[in-house]
């Protein structure tokens, strides 16, 4: 059933499970638990469509690099699936290998723990199971990188696909315009007793369930937990000061530009770093895209580029050749884009700003930081990919100056993949949830979504979010 909490304010049932958030994780959990016969209260803070009123809750204070949450997340039914690109690649087996980065442990689970959920996740995301994940192009590089293997979802909009199913479900009561504004512990302080919700007309209610699952994404999940500070000043689940820490994005670094030797070549290429390269250099993973942006059509540019390659091959003194290359001004035929794994880092974090929203909750204070591990990943990857491009005799790469000069600040952007802020770790000192996604020290509070990622790999997060969510649904059902 579907209810607008601005209009329908009676919630007096005690549900088996309360799921907070209707993004891919929340909707998947509600559907799976309902199929298993559990009664589910599904809460959405926004409405059924986009509104400035709801989106305003993503307004935050930025003190580090700008992750632009207000423009990358969506706060209404279906969540950010309402505008995701649909690119899917599962985590690699090696993403789950035991390792330590920046003094923090990696995943406490193994690839085999989520592999059984791959097929069902592909179904949910409308992926072609027969085609699977095909290499994007030929294996042109001799070492260090392989063709990226991914597939595209239509992309699945969870609202369009599942709204009517939820509306007609007997086991799911979905309330929208019902933001959670507080969460209370019972007298033992080991369980959540209820969640307080509000509508946009200042009406509040409390909702009860046996189990609670937060599915609010990498920013709102920690903000909500930190704001629940009436009983414990540090916030719920934050006894080790880990809630909100280790914020990770996928780093969007423009490595530079390239020239194909063959000027008629207009093919884009995508590569993924090999495990050997990553392990040997002790760096993060990377996904590299060579994208054509300018076709070489004009006679002047064609001539310039032909001269460039001709002069590299011709008989000329080294000094003259170097001078020629130094003065060669060409923007290239295309750019090298990346999706680079950011390491978990305690200093990169989401905390609470002093500014408050219209419910009186503290807004997010965003301090996104990269560290030397990430800088090394970017520089080693950039240089290696440029060398492989030349070795493959494809042409030449011109790297951005910050790749070659480590005194220069690295320029990078975002991919809107917000991860790690309630990371999974068996040791409560290094994470917020245990290997079953249950918040340490609490017996009935769980978290689903990319905030539980211990490390982020270099693949788009939606596919692993769904796999982990299906695993959690199995666990909750017992």
């Amino acid at each position: 059933m579907l209810f607008d909490f601005n209009l329908q304010t009676d919630i007096d049932k005690n549900y088996d499970v309360c799921v907070v958030g209707t993004g891919p994780a929340g909707i998947t959990l509600a559907r799976k638990l309902s199929e298993a016969g559990q009664t589910v209260l599904l809460l959405e803070a926004g409405g059924l469509d986009y509104s400035e009123q709801s989106q305003d809750f993503y307004e935050c204070e930025t003190v580090g690099h700008n992750a632009w949450p207000k423009f990358s997340r969506l706060r209404y039914f279906g969540g950010t699936s309402n505008h995701w690109s649909g690119r899917c690649r599962p985590f690699d087996r090696s993403d789950f290998n035991p390792r330590e980065i920046n003094g923090l442990p990696g995943w406490p689970i193994r690839y085999n723990d989520i592999e059984p959920y791959l097929e069902e996740a592909m179904e949910i995301l409308d992926l072609d199971k027969i085609m699977g994940f095909q290499p994007a192009n030929d294996d042109l590089f001799k070492t260090h990188f392989s063709p990226d293997a991914y597939t595209k979802s239509p992309p699945t909009r969870f609202k369009g696909k599942y709204l009517s199913e939820i509306e007609n479900s007997k086991n799911i009561d979905c309330y929208y315009n019902a933001p959670a504004i507080d969460m209370r512990l019972d007298t033992s302080r080991q369980s959540i007793s209820h969640i307080k919700i509000s509508n946009y007309n200042n009406f509040t209610a409390t909702v009860s369930a046996q189990k609670f699952i937060l599915c609010l994404g990498g920013i709102e999940t920690p903000r909500f937990m930190l704001n629940c500070n009436n009983q414990i000043s540090a916030g719920i689940g934050n006894s080790n000061d880990m809630v909100g820490r280790c914020f990770m994005e996928h780093l969007n670094v423009r490595m530079g530009s390239f020239l194909y030797r063959d000027l008629d070549n207009t093919a884009g290429m995508q590569f993924y770093s090999d495990d050997d390269f990553v392990n040997k250099n002790a760096i993060g993973k990377s996904n590299i895209t060579f994208g054509i942006v300018r076709q070489i059509k004009s006679y002047g540019r064609t001539k310039d580029i032909k001269n460039f390659f001709k002069n590299l091959a011709c008989q000329m003194e080294i000094e003259d050749k170097v001078q020629f290359i130094s003065e060669f001004k060409c923007p290239g035929m295309g750019n090298i884009g990346t999706l680079i794994e950011q390491s978990p880092n305690l200093d990169s974090r989401v905390s609470l700003s002093k500014k408050t929203d219209s419910f009186g909750l503290n807004r997010t204070k965003f301090d996104w930081q990269i560290n030397d591990f990430d800088r090394k990943t970017i520089r080693e990857t950039g240089q290696a990919v440029a060398i492989e491009f030349a070795k493959a005799n494809l042409g030449s790469v011109r790297l951005a100056d910050f790749i070659l000069d480590d005194t220069k600040e690295i320029e990078f952007g975002r991919h809107a993949h917000h991860m790690g802020t309630t990371r999974m770790s068996e040791n409560p000192k290094y994470g917020v949830v245990n290997k079953n996604s249950r918040v340490h020290d609490l017996d009935n509070l769980y978290i689903a979504g990319s905030s539980v990622f211990s490390t982020g790999g270099a693949c788009n997060p939606t596919m692993p979010i769904i796999q982990l969510t299906l695993r959690l649904a199995d666990h909750i059902q017992g």
Partner: protein
């Protein structure tokens, strides 16, 4: 010899003697680059590994620089 040809040769020679020194003066004398200049230029090469260098951000095999040299 016709009279007109005499006049043309005379004018040509005047033109040649008056223009050539000016043109020659404008032309830069051919000089070899000094060792210092060469050193300065070679400083633009940054080695990446045993086989590859960067020049002005362009990543090139060392071989490319050496192979073509006279």
């Amino acid at each position: 010899m016709p009279r007109s040809l005499h006049r043309r040769s005379f004018l040509n020679s005047i033109l040649l003697f008056s223009v050539a020194p000016m043109a020659a003066a404008k032309k830069r004398p051919l000089t070899k680059k000094s060792a210092n200049d060469n050193q300065q230029i070679l400083r633009n090469i940054k080695p990446l590994d045993q086989d590859f260098v960067s020049i002005n951000g362009w990543i090139l095999p060392k071989e490319t620089l050496i192979k073509g040299t006279r």
